[in-house]
Structures are given as C-alpha cells and as structure tokens.
Amino acid sequence: MNQARVPAALLNAVKSDLQPVRPLAAPMRRALMLLPLGIAMLVGIPAFWTWQAHLKVLAPWPSWLLSVLEIGLSLLILAASFREAIPGRELSAKWIAALVGVALMVFVLVNPTLPSPPQLSSNTLAHWMWECIVRATTFSIPALVLPVLVASRGLPNRPALMGALCGLGVGFMGDAGLRLLCWDGDYAHVILAHGGAIAILVGLGALSAVIVERVRSRRLTKRGLAR
C-alpha cells in the first residue's frame, strides 16, 4: 500500500475540527421528514384561499385521494433531489427521464379530473389562470426554501438539476392543494396555469440551488488551504 503522508497544513485543518459526525439519513427518510410540509400545503392552500366563503365548493373526497397521490410523488421527487446532492450517488439520465416522465403522466392524469367550466370569456379564463398561478406560488415559493436547504447539506455536482428537482417536488405539493379549489379542469388551464406554477418553481429551485452552491464554493475557495 502506498504510504503517502498527510501534508501538515491539511492535518492541522482536519485535527482542528475532528468531531464525530452522524451520517446523513437516507434520501427517502429525509424526504419523509418533509411530509408535514406536504400536508400543510395540501390542507393549507384550499383552507386559506377558500376560507369561509367557498368551503362548499372544495373538491369531493376522491379528488383528495388523487392529491395525496401527488404528495407521495412529490416526496419521491424530493428524495431523488436529496440523492442527487450526495457525491457519487448522482442520478443517471435514465432515472431522471423516468422520474420526469412519471411526474408528467401523473400531472396530466390527475388534474383534468376536475369538471370543465361552461363556455366563458377569454378574459375570465385568463383571470382564472393568473389566480391559480398566484395561489400556488404564494405558498410554494416560501416552502421551497426548506427542501433546498435540506438538499444543500450535501455536496451537489449538478446544483441546477438538484434545485430543479426540489422545485418540481414542491411544485407538485402546491398543485396537490391547488387542484382542490380550482374550478377549471380544462387541459389548457391545467397545462398553462398549474403547469406554469410548477415551471416557475422548477426555475426558482434551480436558480436558488446554484446561488447557494456558488456562495458556498466562493466561501470555501477563500478559506481553502491552498489559496
């Protein structure tokens, strides 16, 4: 075996901070810790936006089951994102394609189960779209902070992808709550409004993860032994 000796500066740096550490929990376990966040979004979004005035118009219980399915999927996506953040455990292109494919399929199958509205003016439809985007993002954007921080405890080699997956997961959580109070099950509305909200979160997730990683790497570059 090679007997390379540890350089003194490195050894000192390691010695100065050599405390026992507990390995991070498995990605799925960490994702499950965010289940309360999912439940809060599932219940919180319809409860907040339909408070008192429109409680009766909330979706019937089978629709809630489909939303629970979306929450399950969102936790799976978040687990994938947490795994992506572990060095050497990055997701393969096949896994990413499969995950995004399943997510799209669930999104397309679950959302249009809502009733389609009668013929309405394009202004009303546009207003509803805007309403849905605002309602979803008002809750989802603050909620995105938590998974991005959890994922950033790792050392992602592809921070944009990791953040995008975080955004996708939180986007699905938001959609699970949003679809319970949405009045429009039309495909155009679902894709543009609900899908748009998810796309915004995917973009924000990617951006925030890249920023977090850049800030951290800049700090480490400054603190590094060699520089």
Partner: protein, 174 residues
C-alpha cells in the same frame, strides 16, 4: 471511513495514504496545469473532511471521494474563469526585484532608485513593501487599509511603470 466519521485521526491518515495517489492521478488527467494538482488534492481531502456526514457507510467509498474530487475540480475551473486577468497580474506583481533587473541589464541601481521615486505614492508603497521588504499582500493590505487585491494591483501597476521608465532610460543610454 466509519472510524473516521467517529472522529479517529489515524483513520483519516489511512484514507489519505490509500487514496491520495488515485486522486492525484485523477487531477493530473483532468487539469492541463500540473502545478495546481497538489493544491487540488489537498482541497479534495479538506472537502472530504467537511462533507464526511454525506457518506453513507455501507456504500462503496471511491465513488463518493471522486464525486467530491469532481466538485473541487468544477469549483477550481469556475474560480479560474473568474480571475484570469488578475492571476496574470498577480504573477507579474510577484516578480522579484532581481527579475526586473535581469530584464534590463543596463539599468543600474541609481536609475532604478530614480524610477521608483517617480512612481506615484499610491503604487510605490505597495511595491516597495512587497518587493523590497518582502511583506505579503495581505499584510500590506492591512497596513495601508486597502484590500489584498488592490495591493496586488497597485504593485503590478508599479512594476509595469518601472519597466517602462527603465527601458526609456536604457534606450537613452544606447
């Protein structure tokens, strides 16, 4: 690795002995500039130390270590992209006084002294403190109340100005 995670220094030394060469070979393949390889190897082990909670024990260790090495490599590329002109200036600023003299063999000490005197004070001080007194840019920065980068830049500007001044004098002497 489990022993290392539980805080044993000897385990880290063993890991280093086991992996340092492989990591060095990895960086030698991926980086054209061989002079940065030892720094990157150290940086990788330091990052490995910081990120040791991210390793999950039953899994193989090498993919984890090389994942960290990839991260360090990407960070190094980004840092290099962000500071190419500065690095060149830094190298120039760190030229010892003798190098300057070698570049202009006809310039005698008196000429050099006069040329230094003609420099504006703002660039003369950092240059003298670094080249004549051997202070690091960090300590010059602390002394003059400027940033280390500003100290390097001023010293670099002084070097350039000196070079111009001395080559003019050399031209006159010919």
């Amino acid at each position: 690795m489990i022993a290392y995670q539980s805080g044993e220094l000897s385990a880290f030394e063993q890991l280093y002995a086991l992996l340092a060469d492989e990591v060095r070979r990895y960086f030698s393949r991926t980086h054209g500039n061989r002079s940065v390889v030892p720094d990157l190897v150290q940086e990788t082990f330091l990052e490995m130390h910081r990120s040791r909670p991210t390793y999950a024990p039953p899994l193989p260790m090498r993919p984890w270590v090389f994942g960290i090495a990839r991260n360090v490599s990407a960070r190094n590329f980004r840092a290099a992209q962000m500071r190419p002109p500065t690095q060149a200036m830094e190298a120039e600023a760190e030229l010892p006084l003798e190098t300057l003299g070698n570049a202009m063999p006809l310039a005698d000490a008196l000429d050099t002294e006069r040329a230094i005197e003609t420099l504006p004070r703002s660039v003369r001080e950092p240059w003298l403190l670094h080249h004549a007194f051997g202070f690091s840019f960090e300590s010059i920065a602390a002394r003059l109340g400027i940033t280390p980068m500003a100290a390097k830049l001023r010293s670099s500007r002084a070097t350039k100005a000196l070079r111009v001044a001395l080559s003019v004098r050399r031209g006159r002497q010919r």
